[in-house]
């Protein structure tokens, strides 16, 4: 029992701590069912043995809730050590802080639209800056470190080669196997060469490579720039009179422009290799026939479109990675968000542009 009523005085007794307050609250609810709060004019605190911030909050609730109804509610008689804690922890004197009003539905749509518009403008501005400095950087090497393009080419290209080759081989294998079985049933197994050559050169080669590069290098670019932003390294570059885009982004841009078509070429060759294996073993096509048919079906236009779009995808990956890198706010968490966002956006953009290219150059 914590509560007692005698002569309109509510007497509190015992410990009022975070462990006992839940019980006291239940008792209060029961107590008020039987007794109207109007009858209480005074609360006697003399019986309180110990109290903590939970107990004081309980008293504050009592005061605000029932004091308002009865008009008068006086506390009295607390022992000095209890009173000291009440004075420290009382919340009655605190100003109420209203939480930020949540945005309405239309407000949120409008806010998102404005933010997206600003992001788009910023991304386009950045893209134009990157194009500008990359173009001028071809002729004027000042502003880039010696050897940085080669170093980036190794990082973005050579190191991506094994995974690109492996995945292209597997995809070429699956593609040939599935379509080979179908073609064999119709007795036209020899057409596998045509099918695989067209698919790999026009679609799958650039697409697989770009998706792998977006996952590997897009994230690396975003996190590198974001980290440099967070640790003030970009500011330090500016103070050394070095343009961050020219110093950090342009070497990557140049490197990826060279490296991407080479990666795509490897991807196509390796997939063709897997296809040739299937053609020889499953479809009884001779290797000469396979190679000749593949080469015959391809036109110069196919090859140009293939390399053209792979370069375009490469640029998209670098620009999106840099955009999220430069946009970063906050610390380590911001870097993580920037990295994730850059990978998701660049894969999305690559697939979207691939669809556009397919429609344009059918």
């Amino acid at each position: 029992m914590y509560l007692n009523l005698s002569n309109n005085v509510l007497i509190l007794e015992g410990d009022f701590t975070k462990f006992t307050v839940p019980e006291a609250e239940k008792e209060l609810a029961r107590f008020l069912k039987d007794n109207s709060p109007d009858k209480i004019t005074m609360i006697d605190l003399a019986g309180i043995l110990s109290i903590d911030s939970a107990g004081v909050s309980f008293l504050d609730e009592l005061h605000l809730h029932y004091g308002e109804q009865s008009g008068i509610l006086l506390f009295k008689g607390a022992r000095p050590e209890v009173q000291a804690l009440i004075n420290t922890f009382s919340t009655i004197k605190l100003a109420a802080v209203a939480p930020d009003r949540p945005m309405g539905f239309f407000e949120k749509i409008g806010d998102d639209a404005i933010n997206s518009y600003h992001s788009l403008v910023e991304a386009l501005t950045l893209a134009s800056e990157i194009f500008y400095y990359s173009a001028t950087g071809l002729f004027n090497r000042k502003g880039q470190r010696k050897g940085s393009t080669i170093q980036q080419a190794v990082l973005l290209g050579s190191q991506a080669l094994p995974i690109v080759a492996l995945l292209s081989f597997i995809i070429g294998f699956i593609l040939s196997l599935q379509s080979g079985v179908q073609l064999r049933d119709f007795g036209v197994g020899v057409f596998l060469a045509d099918l695989l050559a067209i698919t790999m050169v026009r679609e799958m080669g650039p697409l697989i490579t770009s998706i792998i590069v977006a996952g590997r290098s897009g994230s690396a670019i975003a996190s590198e720039i974001a980290t440099m932003q967070v640790t003030e390294e970009l500011d330090a570059l500016r103070m050394m009179a070095l343009h961050p885009i020219r110093f950090v982004v342009v070497p990557k841009f140049h490197a990826i422009t060279i490296v991407m078509p080479i990666l795509v070429m490897f991807s196509i060759l390796v997939a063709e290799l897997a296809g040739a294996g299937i053609a020889v073993t499953l479809l009884d096509t001779s290797i000469e026939t396979f190679v000749n048919r593949s080469l015959e079906i391809l036109t110069i236009k196919d090859v140009i479109v293939s390399f053209g779009k792979s370069i375009w995808f490469a640029w998209v990956i670098v620009i999106i990675g840099s955009f999220y890198g430069f946009q970063v706010r906050g610390g380590a968490e911001g870097v993580g968000q920037a990295t994730t966002a850059s990978v998701v956006s660049s894969i999305f953009a690559v697939i979207l542009f691939d669809a556009i290219f397919s429609l344009l150059y059918l």
Binding site: T227, D235, L237, M239, L242
Partner: protein, 253 residues
């Protein structure tokens, strides 16, 4: 602050009515400052008063919302990139946490401004790097990576990098923050040395009282985005401005 009869030298940096905003919030509200050559000017004030913001805005690391900033009599805020970079090449900055490029060694960090902005031979660059590192007492750490350095060493390495091109103005963002008193004192001694020996103009953002007493020629006191005082340290203490009195009173020990 200007007394009759004393010719004050032309300020190296002249800031007029500088306003800085972060989104809707105004961080700096109309700051006007002259920074004189060969002096150590300390920008001080409590945390969040806009000290670092002032430093970064006067260097266009953030673009100010309004006002004018000129270096050596030339307005920099609407300057073209190339001209502005020529101004920056005559300055150096020591960042709060060093801001060394993390993927390359201390040697390469200091080498960057030299390779990028001069046509010096490798041999000369090599000597410059070694002497600058020796100047900050880091000769032994020349081939270490920034991640292998302690906080104080990073700042020293950053200082060596800032000094690589023999700047005429040195900016320091909280040089003593997070350092023990002894290291902090030696960094101050180094900065004083730069002023006395090389006649460098130095601008420092700090709130370390001990450091201010050791090095400040002139102070600029900021409070809630406004400049409350600009002048000599002794004058600041006699100024009777309550916030300044409180600042120095609380820090006394």
């Amino acid at each position: 602050m200007m007394r009759e009869g004393i010719i004050t030298p032309e300020p190296v940096i002249r800031i007029r009515g500088l306003v800085a905003k972060y989104g809707e919030t105004t961080i700096l509200d109309g700051i006007s400052v002259d920074i004189l050559p060969g002096e150590i000017t300390v920008i001080l004030g409590g945390s969040g008063c806009g000290k670092t913001t002032l430093l970064k805005n006067m260097l266009r690391l953030y673009e100010p919302a309004a006002g004018s900033v000129s270096f050596w009599g030339e307005e920099i805020l609407n300057m073209g990139e190339k001209e502005f970079y020529d101004v920056l090449k005559r300055t150096g900055m020591l960042f709060q946490n060093g801001a060394l490029l993390n993927s390359i060694s201390v040697y390469e960090n200091i080498s960057i401004p030299l390779e990028m902005h001069t046509d010096l031979s490798r041999k000369v660059i090599d000597r410059i790097i070694r002497v600058k590192l020796d100047l900050v007492g880091l000769g032994h750490a020349i081939y270490m990576l920034p991640s292998e350095l302690s906080g104080g060493m990073k700042k020293r390495a950053s200082l060596a990098r800032a000094l690589a091109l023999d700047p005429q103005i040195l900016f320091c963002d909280e040089p003593s923050a997070g350092l023990d008193p002894v290291t902090s004192e030696s960094l101050d001694a180094l900065i004083l040395n730069l002023k006395n020996q090389l006649k460098m103009t130095i601008v420092i953002v700090t709130h370390e009282l001990a450091s201010i007493h050791r090095i400040a020629d002139k102070i600029i006191f900021l409070d809630a985005g406004k400049m409350l005082f600009s002048g000599r340290l002794e004058e600041a203490k006699r100024s009777g401005i309550p916030q300044i009195d409180h600042f120095f009173e609380v820090g006394r020990f």
